[in-house]
Symmetry: C2
Subunit: 188 residues, 2 copies
């Protein structure tokens, strides 16, 4: 399968608007509740996405383009959003995510990446060699992982209220496939 970068950017551009439409103004009973224990609230997920826009995707892409495999990516701080988002409202975080993402997509587009650039290699601290194409595809799928997680967090709040229908609702059977190490640390 060939990586069509326009398709990737089509998802990257839409995620902030989709999350805004879903979460903006939604009562706290949905957005400030989690799945129990140390799991994320929907608001935590948005804070994590904001942190990724600042610290992860574009920074790593630039590193591949400038240094190739000669420099290893910094490890992504999995809880890096906690301090950064302190005191911010969900609305502020959604706006911040939209603004950062839009700027990042403009930058990505300005690079006018072709097939040769997409094949460029970088060095991931855990995986070793990765390509720019893989990094950018992961950026889009990472959005979907967190949309998937948010739909599950919201559904969880009504687990008891749906009565017998719970057996028919796929999202209520979802265990996250991961616990913290996978979904929260989705960039490695």
């Amino acid at each position: 399968m060939t990586h069509n970068l326009e398709n990737t950017m089509a998802v990257l551009e839409r995620t902030p608007r989709a999350l805004d439409a879903l979460l903006w103004g939604l009562p706290d009973a949905w957005t400030k509740t989690n799945e129990g224990g140390a799991t994320f609230t929907a608001q935590d997920v948005i804070a994590h996405l904001v942190h990724g826009e600042r610290a992860d995707w574009v920074a790593r892409a630039r590193m591949i383009l400038e240094y190739g495999e000669s420099k290893t990516f910094a490890r992504f701080d999995r809880m890096g959003h906690v301090k950064e988002s302190e005191g911010k409202s969900l609305g502020e975080l959604l706006d911040e995510f939209a603004r950062l993402r839009a700027a990042n997509v403009v930058e990505l587009r300005s690079w006018k990446l072709g097939k040769a650039e997409l094949e460029k290699r970088g060095r991931h601290p855990g995986f070793g060699t990765v390509t720019l194409s893989e990094l950018l595809a992961t950026w889009a799928v990472h959005d979907m992982t967190h949309l998937h997680q948010i739909s599950r967090i919201l559904a969880h709040q009504y687990r008891e209220l749906v009565g017998p229908w719970s057996v028919y609702l796929g999202v209520l059977q979802c265990q996250g496939h991961s616990a913290a190490p996978v979904e929260l640390h989705s960039n490695g």
Copy 2:
């Protein structure tokens, strides 16, 4: 847990806008592809949601309010959307879903349901006795089940492209928890 109907309606009102923001204008490579076999495309999911607005939720709620347990719900036709949506574009289906949902929420709100009405009972063809509260809570969680499904369908298209990151992306581990019988037949 008490059922707060305003919270339920807050989700019901937002789902069409969220799906529109995510899917409107997205390339066919995302929206007309599925997870293999007889699984749904994102467009199929929207058609299924449209059918539910016409044939399921409000019709069943009305039946509970008018007939209580003396009438059994009609079985929901799990593939009822196929004929109904033939020849329609994704954009048309998204608009139709938004229009029907808005009208249904207006109707739901006009009923001014209190605690007593929410406890009213109806008869489900599979489960037997259910309450109006359970039906309405399920309506909202059903939205989340399908948002969860759509995020998974989209992610699936990039399964090969993300390379080693696939192990870190929760959505790529999701099996749907269900296969067709659960997610596609989520109303029983």
